[in-house]
Symmetry: C2
Subunit: 293 residues, 2 copies
Amino acid sequence: MRLVDDRRPGFQAELAQLWPHTGSSQVIGITGNPGSGKSSLVDLLTTRYRALGRRVGVLAVDPSSPFSGGAILGDRIRMQHHSADPGVFIRSLATRGALGGLTASTADTIIVMEALGLDPIIVETVGVGQDEVDIARVAHCTVVVTVPGLGDEIQNLKAGILEIADLFVVNKADREGADQVASELQQMQRLGVAEREIPVLLTSTRTGAGLDQLVEALEQHRRDLLEGDGWHHRELLRAGRHLRTLAVEAFLQTHGLAREDAGPRALLEAVVARRVDPWAAAQTILRPQEVLP
Amino acid sequence: MRLVDDRRPGFQAELAQLWPHTGSSQVIGITGNPGSGKSSLVDLLTTRYRALGRRVGVLAVDPSSPFSGGAILGDRIRMQHHSADPGVFIRSLATRGALGGLTASTADTIIVMEALGLDPIIVETVGVGQDEVDIARVAHCTVVVTVPGLGDEIQNLKAGILEIADLFVVNKADREGADQVASELQQMQRLGVAEREIPVLLTSTRTGAGLDQLVEALEQHRRDLLEGDGWHHRELLRAGRHLRTLAVEAFLQTHGLAREDAGPRALLEAVVARRVDPWAAAQTILRPQEVLP
């Protein structure tokens, strides 16, 4: 794991050896508004899956910390009661790097978790600047969590959400307005262009209500994907994203563009001096044989 | 502008012609918590700059809508009273694409605004999933807006914020707790490793208080950058980011990886079938002469 965090030389070769042992774990993405109780939900889900005898991976991703490399959050305090359980593997990642959102480290960590036989692997976004979209690209099932009382947050969420949600969860369902939010989410679907109906579940992490139903809905989603070509389709999407990330990473590395503040200095100076335009400069990078003006 | 939005063939050549006419406008990034009144702040700032005889560009970027191509938000309703003013140029962009955060379209739009002689150009993030970090990479001056009463939001913001903020604004300063927030932001700086002191300003978009001081602070920031090598340094960073984006875009295009759901299908199938690992596949893309196993 540390190998993955630090991206030391040789880590790719080791990961490549794990690759044949991956591909059967269900990756569950959990995203939604800050304050919607995602963390408690992940905590309770982990307990339920453990009761079913499953070994669980939990990966908390913080896209708001791009400047901090590696796993800065450590084992998360709220998950501490799982930390003595060898059947639960918890990892926190500050995402980083030039490409934004969930990075190669996320994909790499999931691969290690898959190879360890953890199933499901729950990926949760934490912090602000959450990318509720990126998570759908690494998950087989994306759970979008919301709560009553956020006002226009649901309006705000609307933009890309129908395209990424596989399950909606209205958490803190013991609060007033939960049914209202649930019916709004159902109405939103009728207005939208969703290909299939997205189930809306009510949960309460305080009382534990709805948790069994959520686990069952997640299991059902896995079965649905596996019965059709859904699972294979998601695997292709996931592999496509991973491949693109790796290829871009290697491309940037090769051309000295990997570091945010670095780059081919002479070329950048020529661009800033307006002697070369950025598009010509980009072509120079792609075709280094061309001579600078 | 439509050329840029649609990224039609030939738009790059036209933008390249504009390049020599850019480089002197101040790009101001405005970011911060949802509900902090960023939009009203941009509105009032625009009015002040107009009173100073400046032609103003306003670019609202919505990173929460990666699936929607082009300018979906249209001219923003709240800015409507500026819409009859030929000295104000307003543009809304839904960011999108594989690379996350602010995309090439943002940089391209700024270039057009620079070439039009608009100065300053105010770039504001809207919606959820805000990338408060990316904006710092296109701006000369990044303004981080917060308000009293958000509780741990300031805690949440802490992660990368000292590294990107050039100015802090505590908006809704007529509300209780504004001074408290301001002093917390000052304390935060003493605890952190900031290289320079980041000014903390109090504003109220309701009363207009502090707006003149904000304009003056922005002007001062520009002067400070221009007096030292700060401006040139930021221009290098901005050019570096733009160049990287363009180079990656061209790279993805060349290798059929540009579309999220597409990719070299046979290679992806081999990866999903675990016949090839993703790292070997990435190398195959970079060095197409190698033969697949």
